[in-house]
């Protein structure tokens, strides 16, 4: 097996151009499970752990750039968590500390599981992804990047370099149901991001469709039913918002849960997440 351990992004892209069939290895928390189960039999590996530039983050104006090599543990660091608290909340629900020390944002994006925990948050934040290959660079909206269960627009020879999200949306939240209190794959999850300045609510769901889904009709409906000066919604709005979000879910029955429960769970989670994020807005406005 050919194993390449590049030190720079250019070296990594060159290695991948050299072996387009190579398995890209970041934290290994997904691909090594596949290798151990015999589902993947790589003959070449490009290991990204030594590419330091993938493991950094930076703020440019009101945009936060998250290197694809940041681990879930990195997302829990207080300075990052203060800017994207829902991403830290999502990271905290992933696995155990050893898994959080290994698994990466880029890995979560590339695996593109409908249950990937950072994905609903990044989707609700309208994240843009920086992709690169030896052919050049391009930027793709996460919304179009995810094309199906474990399917993306990523091309052969291409790497995810970074995700870019707003750095100034403090009212955001991630909630996730699993059948265990920790170390569990989402049965259903919801991310809500409120931008009180422009009066917009964004909501994304996980594990209730072939990809993480936005709930555009519910978002549009709710935006006009909140007093954005105070952050207070009209009576019954949160409950109706939950129902509308659930209507936009497309869950299935599988060995982890049922479609009926998943639809119910996103309704409850969306209602609760809206209530608590708006309560945060109300506190901020009052202060």
């Amino acid at each position: 097996m050919d194993v390449s351990v590049p030190r720079t992004l250019d070296e990594a892209l060159a290695a991948l151009a050299d072996r387009p069939d190579a398995m890209v290895l970041a934290g290994g928390t997904d691909v090594m499970v596949g290798v151990n189960a015999g589902r993947q039999t790589p003959t070449a590996v490009v290991a990204l752990r030594a590419v330091e530039e993938l493991r950094t983050w930076s703020v440019d104006g009101d945009r936060l750039r998250l290197g694809a090599g940041l681990t879930y543990a990195d997302l829990l660091a207080p300075d990052l968590a203060a800017m994207v608290p829902a991403l830290a909340q999502a990271a905290r629900t992933v696995g155990s500390p050893p898994i959080r020390n290994a698994g990466t944002v880029g890995g979560n994006l590339a695996t593109a599981s409908p249950a990937g925990d950072t994905l609903p948050v990044l989707l609700a934040l309208d994240a843009e992804l920086d992709l690169a290959s030896v052919e050049g660079r391009r930027t793709v909206a996460l919304r179009s990047f995810l094309t199906g269960p474990k399917r993306t627009q990523l091309r052969t020879g291409e790497l995810i370099v970074a995700a870019r999200v707003p750095a100034t949306r403090p009212h955001q939240e991630y909630r996730k149901v699993g059948v265990r209190n920790a170390m569990v794959i989402a049965v259903a999850s919801v991310a809500v991001v409120v931008d009180a300045d422009v009066g917009v609510v964004a909501c994304a769901m996980g594990s209730v469709g072939p990809t993480p889904l936005r709930a555009p009709r519910a978002e549009e409906w709710v935006a006009g039913r909140i007093d954005w000066g105070t952050g207070v919604p009209d009576a019954g709005v949160a409950a109706e918002f939950g129902r509308l979000v659930a209507e936009e879910s497309r869950p299935i029955d599988d060995h982890r849960s049922t479609a009926a429960y998943r639809r119910h769970a996103v309704e409850v989670l969306a209602r609760r997440a809206l209530e608590s994020t708006l309560a945060g807005v109300a506190r901020a406005e009052a202060a």
């Binding site: 155990s96 939240e173 996730k176 149901v177 209190n181 170390m183």
Partner: protein, 770 residues
Amino acid sequence: MTMAPPTGTPGTPGTTARGVAGGLGESARRPDGGPKVRGEFAFAGDLWADGMLWGATLRSPHAAARIRSIDVGPALAIAGVATVVTAADVPGSANYGLEERDQPVFAADVVRYAGEPIAAVAADHPETARRALAAIVVDYELLPPVTDPELALTGEPLHPDGNVFRHLTIRHGDPTARGPVVVEGTYEIGMQDQAFMGPEAGLAVPAEDGGVDLVVSTQWLHNDRDQVAECLGLRPDQVRLTLGGVGGAFGAREDVSLHVHICLLALRTGRPVKVVYSREESFLGHVHRHPARIWMRHTAEPDGTIVSFEARIVLDGGAYRSSSYHVVANASCFAAGPYRVPNAHVEGLGVRTNNPPCGAMRGFGAVQVCFAHEGQMDKLAAACGIDPVELRLHNALDHGDHLLTGQRIDGTLPVARVIRETMALPLPEPAADELLSRPGAAGRTTDAPHVRRGIGFAVGFKNLMYAEGYMDGSEAACVLVDGLATVQCAAAEVGQGFVTLAQQIARTVLGVERVLVAPAETASMGSAGSTSASRQTWMSGGAVEQACLAVRDQLLAHVASTLGCAAADLEIVGGAIRSVPGAALDVDIAVEDAAPGVPFEARRVFHHRVTLPLDADGQGDAHVSMACAAHRAVVDVDPELGLVRVVQLATAQDVGRALNPLSVLGQIEGGCAQGVGLATMEELVLEAGKVRNASFTDYLIPTALDMPEVVTTLVEEPEPGAPFGAKGVGEPPVISSTPAIVAAVRAATGVDLTRVPIRPQDVALADRPR
């Protein structure tokens, strides 16, 4: 005694009443504890031999099929593949089985469950072996799998032995007696897995005599040896088993798994062969807890006195018999719970299906019926308008009462006491307003106002040791030289702590602190029986005690002869041989100095008292002894999402005598964890007979965030006839913990939950039609 979470250093050398550290009654330190904690303990998966090959097993992906043909040629053509074996290569008995030989070593013409072995390969590398498996061509004719036990009962036989492993009827008392209060219910238990951490593993080495030496993780070396020898066509003495390091068992290692395959590969290739199952293969390669559907009807007087009990228990045994016959007996004999029931009719059925084989798991039939009878007791209490704990106390079995089988309880069974002691334990603090302590925990699903707290209670019991006339025994040997005792017994140490107990017994009896426990193996030792049925402390503990007593008597006789006194004038006190009070001589010699260089050796076989088979009405003195425990569960529930957080389990357990209190606590906490798992998350999900969640990603077991505080009282009423008065303690913790948790969730939500594990939708969508 009531035990807070242990403080200080467990097993710190102290002084027993007799002056030797680490004796009975102390929380003696485990000899394997340090290495296990440091990661230095060699488990069976760590075995290695120079020049060894790696074995792997091809398993059927189909639950029911006819095999038209198997072509191993493409596998043999792969470089590095040493051999491929199928049913045609099994030289001896084609079948094995724990009790009856009904399970093929390899499926020859019919596949009866998804995961059934078809062939095995040996190759120079695990990856080569895996590729070889993929290259074997099996032509299957698919059959519709029969996965509903009720359909299997009336359907075509799936096996020459038929589809009923056992149909046991218990008729007790007056069949027409009925009380005015009637409660009835149907309960379901999903398929729980033992989920031990160390997957099945072994190393087989061909021997000069044409036999084979097998190091393997197992619960019962001698039973394995006999089955392996039969299948290989060898004499039992040509198959020598040694216990490998066992990473948990809980019943799943009672049956043969890789044993015959690996020995066959070693004999065919003339080279050592190692096999380690993957996690997925482990889920397919061992038996599980029987899923059950149980109907019960109780009638009672208005004051709650039980008048009659009826039950129909259907256990899905899966494709092969394993221990189903005896699981049916336990489920039936203990179906009513630890209560006085004068009149009863119980039908117990174990049925063959095309589901994965089921067999022994901690609690062995008592777990399933306890969930049902405790649900019934709560219903009966409600129907009578009586507090559920009072109702249980009112009907509690005690010494002198009779079981459903007519057997009189002639030992201890302090049911009322474990109930009262459990209720006397402190309740937890009100829910802390802390995210990680709420239902959903890290998932942040639940805010404080969404939480409802509930409290539930349950009691359970089961037998200790094998039953129904089985002639059980265990052999142990002891050698004492210069104050160093070596104890040997073939009892499988699977993590329960027998090696510690054996040391404690020898220290107390012989007055020495240095005790070696020799490896468990079949070549030099007779059978110790299985590490199951809560039996090793009693059976092999009894054998070790007798061997040590015999050595002590030899030592005292030797010293007496050198001193010219009578052995009866001497005793061991602390680490010294001393003259008894009033003896003519005044003797005080350290045991280790008493007979320099002289070895004393003894070997003893221990038997428990005789039991009898059950008659046609399910009556008879079939059981040796019983143990009980009670659990009170406190849970926090998010009813809207159906998420459960178990806050506390309080338990009092009937232990006879706690020989190693810390080990007892370990058994209690571990059993509670498995009870939490069965109540809230553990289930192998099947679809048309195929396991859908054969991984620790999807077969969920409790994490530290799911495990409640456990507060414990050990009820010590020494059991007559038991060595040291001690009862086995491994199984009771897992029996009533599950129903107590479910009762607490019912109390918190008002939902009549009749199935475990509780799935979130069972609570959250309870008002919707299924």
